[in-house]
Symmetry: C2
Subunit: 375 residues, 2 copies
């Protein structure tokens, strides 16, 4: 099968009014940025929703006009790929609270005419999912063939299972947990403290002036470490010790320092510090375990493909195993694979071959079974 890209794509926008959040607050207007690839069939049975990670966006495949780099999951989304755009209609949207086209703290607050900043209400993974559902309904889709995503995208997948089980045929949660652990919350909190400790942050009302770039860069540098593994860092930076400095001169002596500084400084150009605060808080509060994950009375009939990665220490495999155990205990049909990888948490973006084999077959078989009467 020939593997090519989806080509030139562009981000679209979907807007709706008076969106009530989990905490009771109402956003008067919400815009959700999204992209689609492939064609929705006449019966609207071939729609797959892809959910993105913490700092991701709606642009998961193809190229924007003039761009050299494709979308963040381009290796998995396209003709003949894991998410096969020859057969399926793929939707990917930027989350509520984000800063890549969807309504978030850097959007204009209609009540004041200036950016929300920290007047933006707290949002949850459930709020993100409810906004996504409005987008899916806008397409006239009555049931999604699949919802799939890694990391914070996996949280959204599990939240879809909890909140709208009758609305999905299948779910692919990747490299994720049923509930944020203290360690995960702690890493997020260090990032937040770094942002909020930056004098430029000004309690979140920094728009139009200098932005808390230093604090945000440090948060991102830390994030990067947690996305890689001890081993993958050693492979990427075979530590050749630099010459000893005469004085401590504040430069990056080691390659890994230079790399992290670069990742930090390029991140601040594309990401809003307040979105970092809001989305990380949403992740901290994520907990589908508290509601007794998959109550039996819901009588689910969802097929699951659960994927984790051996070297992922941010969302370690035991957390995916917990998802599998809970699903199995409720009699659900689950395929689980703990993929051998040395990439750490980032593996969900990098282990293309294994993910392709698993995901393509899973979705193809499901589609045949549900709509074509057999595997």
């Amino acid at each position: 099968m020939k593997k090519k890209d989806v080509g030139i794509v562009k981000t679209e926008y979907f807007t709706f009014k008076n969106f009530t959040l989990e905490n009771g607050k109402i956003l008067p207007e919400v815009t959700i940025a999204y992209e689609t690839y492939g064609k929705l069939n006449d019966k609207k049975t071939n729609a797959v929703l892809i959910t993105h990670a913490f700092t991701g966006n709606a642009h998961c495949a193809g190229y924007h006009e003039g761009d050299e780099k494709p979308g963040w999951w381009n290796m998995l989304v396209g003709p003949g790929k894991a998410f096969n755009t020859d057969k399926y209609f793929i939707i990917c949207s930027n989350v509520l609270g984000g800063c890549a086209g969807s309504t978030g703290p850097s959007s204009i607050n209609p009540a004041t005419g200036i950016e929300y900043g920290t007047d933006f209400p707290a949002i949850t993974i459930s709020d993100m999912v409810r906004a996504q559902k409005k987008l899916v309904e806008f397409f006239g889709i009555e049931k999604l063939l699949c919802v799939a995503g890694g990391s914070m995208g996996g949280m959204q997948v599990l939240q879809w299972v909890m909140d709208y089980p009758e609305y999905i045929y299948s779910a692919i949660p990747i490299a994720i947990t049923l509930k944020s652990t203290p360690q995960q919350i702690a890493f997020n909190e260090v990032g937040r403290q770094s942002i909020m400790g930056d004098v430029a942050w000004k309690k979140g009302h920094y728009y139009g002036g200098p932005e808390p770039d230093k604090g945000l860069a440090v948060a991102r540098m830390l994030g990067h470490i947690t996305y890689m593994s001890d081993y993958s860092m050693q492979k990427k930076f075979p530590v050749k010790n630099p010459e000893l400095n005469e004085n401590f001169d504040f430069n990056a002596d080691f390659e890994v320092e230079e790399y992290l500084r670069y990742r930090g400084s390029s991140f601040v150009k594309r990401f809003d510090a307040n979105s970092y605060l809001y989305l990380s808080k949403a992740m901290d509060y994520f907990d589908v375990q508290k509601d007794n994950f998959l109550p039996e009375e819901k009588n689910l009939n969802i097929k699951f493909l659960v994927i984790s990665f051996k070297s992922d220490w941010l969302y370690p495999p035991y957390q995916s195993e917990n998802i599998v155990k809970q699903l199995k205990a409720k009699g659900q049909e689950v395929t689980y694979c703990n993929i051998y990888s040395t990439y750490g948490h980032d593996a969900f973006l990098l282990e293309v071959k294994d993910e392709t084999n698993l995901i393509r077959n899973f979705i193809d078989n499901l589609y045949k079974e549900v709509f074509e009467g057999g595997k």
Copy 2:
């Protein structure tokens, strides 16, 4: 055997002139803060040097007048304890570059009459050890019975082995590596960027004015996460999700956030941000592997006790196993124990019972063998 404390102790100071550093620079005057416990015997054969971790100090046992909390290794240092002060003379000194009495960036630069700040020269683990050796010689000790320490203390132990092998009978490196890895360097670099990104840092010349407390607190918060384990954090903070906030109000919602903030804010009261920079750089440069650890021509006769902890992911057991392999390959006598612990890297401060059994027997047997003609 009755286990009591060494009682009330106080820090002493040892000063010497014109200390040449590894990079060729000369410190005109160096003071080393130290404490001792137990009695040096007439032949001066019973001296044990304890080396401290990153943010430690010379006060490893007993109580300072009026203090409620004892020294940082009090559980292991005292009458009948792992480091038995009934039998041995224990020396512990604050490292060069530190901020607990020894010369460091917060000391007065004799050339200017004000604090060195970042005019302080870069220092290495080897420099720390060479300063310690001067202190040991000041006591008239010709050979140390043992050098022991965990984390950065373990680096000093291995550096003693490299630099002064004829000067020690035994070495106990705990929870450490032969060479800093990119991940370890990366965590240090995030801490440094956080400090240097604080407007109060002023390129290191902040003394007498506001100090970079916010940046230093963030660095410490991150440090704390790396010293614990995923499991120990779950045990310490059984995450009961708080009520969802209406707005994002910057408070600590989760117990773990509150804990980290507390640890950060109490740390800045006792530690100097520039010392954080200098000591973390010294750790980054640590590499006894590059010099072909234990060159055979040195014809060593040192006994080793190497200790690691199963849940330590900052200095994982495989790094201690590397130390053991290298020692074995050079025909050295090594006892190795990978202690079962869920505490993470902090285990070297907490796994008192196992460490006591290992260390006390190791030192007692050694002393008998060397000085009393048998085990």
